[in-house]
């Protein structure tokens, strides 16, 4: 976040080609350096096949999430960033509530950004840890499609894994 103004300065440098990404959810627009945006395989494919106009519309991703995605891409497009810096920056990006993480993982999947997909998935996996499955269901808004009997049968398959859980 702190590096955003500096990057915007770079973005407006005349010799650099930029792309405009537009969230179709709230019409927010982001101007980013092309090499930053091209970390998304989806965008790269669009640019390579000349499908990209001046403004690239991004469906189903909100401006809030798109900002996070761009932050990630900027960090990873910086050649002088050390491995440690990137790790810290990644940790900052995924230090969000579960709903944001879910949106973020969907965005990373849609835009095909492997690294972001991995760190977000890891964070989600960490947040499942030691949770009762009922809590997981509630937090992630999953509909329980088991009958009580079916659920009991699934539990019985690996009873020991549910030991000490409600």
């Amino acid at each position: 976040m702190a590096s955003a103004p500096e990057n915007e300065k770079n973005a407006s440098a005349p010799e650099k080609k930029t792309l405009t990404l537009k969230s179709m959810i709230n019409n927010e627009e982001f101007v980013v350096d092309e090499h930053v945006a091209l970390q998304s395989v989806t965008i790269k494919n669009m640019v390579d096949s000349d499908c990209a106009g001046d403004v690239i519309p991004v469906p189903t991703i909100s401006g809030e999430i798109l900002a996070l995605v761009i932050e990630y891409c900027k960090n990873h497009a910086n050649p002088s960033a050390s491995e440690d810096d990137l790790k810290k920056a990644d940790a900052g990006i995924v230090a969000k509530d579960i709903y944001t993480l879910i949106d973020l993982v969907l965005a990373a999947n849609f835009l095909d950004i492997k690294g972001l997909l991995e760190v977000t998935s890891q964070k989600i996996a960490d947040s499942i840890k030691d949770l009762p499955h009922q809590d997981v269901r509630e937090i992630f808004g999953v509909e329980n499609d088991y009958t009580p009997e079916e659920e009991a049968a699934v539990r019985a398959e690996h009873d020991w894994a549910f030991e000490g859980f409600p």
Binding site: D103, A125, H133, V142, E143, N144, V154
Partner: protein, 294 residues
Amino acid sequence: MSTETWSALPEEILELIFELLTDIFDLLRSRGVCFSWRYVAMNLYPNPTTPLLLLRVKKTSASREYVETISISFGTTPPMVYRVQSIEALSRTRCVYSYRGWLLMETLMIPIALFFFFVQPILLHKGCICKRGDREWRKIFPLRTFYEDMIYYKDAFYAIDNNGMVERFNYRNCPSTVDTVSVMDMNIIGNPDMYLVESSCGELWVVVRQVGSHEDTRRVGFLKTKTIKVFKLTWKGTEVIASISPMICGLEVQTRVIMTMGIYDLASQKIEQFIPSPKILDDTTIQRWFRPGI
């Protein structure tokens, strides 16, 4: 705030997340969430199969001892080393699976804990055993390749490999001495399954099960028991004198049922399919996961 819900996650993302779970407990509990979660979790991690583990004893200080186990991987990943403190915790258990730092131990109802493993012939391997009440593991040297079956019978271990070689390990000596006898002069063709069993009359038997493919084309890929041959194994004293009786019985198996387990009745010479009920399994084996100390 997005209206997307978790259940709308594509399967490939769910799979990726499950792959990153470090704890088998979490992965298995996630099966309880809903059908699609269960489906993905089961595809990723089916039920435990053959163990690939190697164990050896190490003594560190006077007060501490631990077992080191190595799971052999056949792919590109290097073998994992686990350290398990307190041998007592593992006595009367057998490792049936290892997964992400966990060992699945099976509690045995026979008074012996046995660790052995199937490894590729090129790998160096060692094994160890311990009886209930033992304070330390006993090494078995040298373990050969691919044991089909092992049995603890009258103070000794017997192991049979897929070539029909029977080895006897003296349990009293440590490291144990090994005697070997080949039982291949039994007119066995192909690559049968070998079992060592203690008969109800207290004899040691070698049971050879010949399997073949199923004639029923709908069951292609399944194996069917074709013949079962039973031999008596006599081993005299400490000398390597072993004899194989003429075949006690042999039979062609007529059943069209695919059998994984069967009970053979000597008197009627018939095999009945044995399907262990969950109750029986509960009574004979208790599986629990054991997180090794580091």
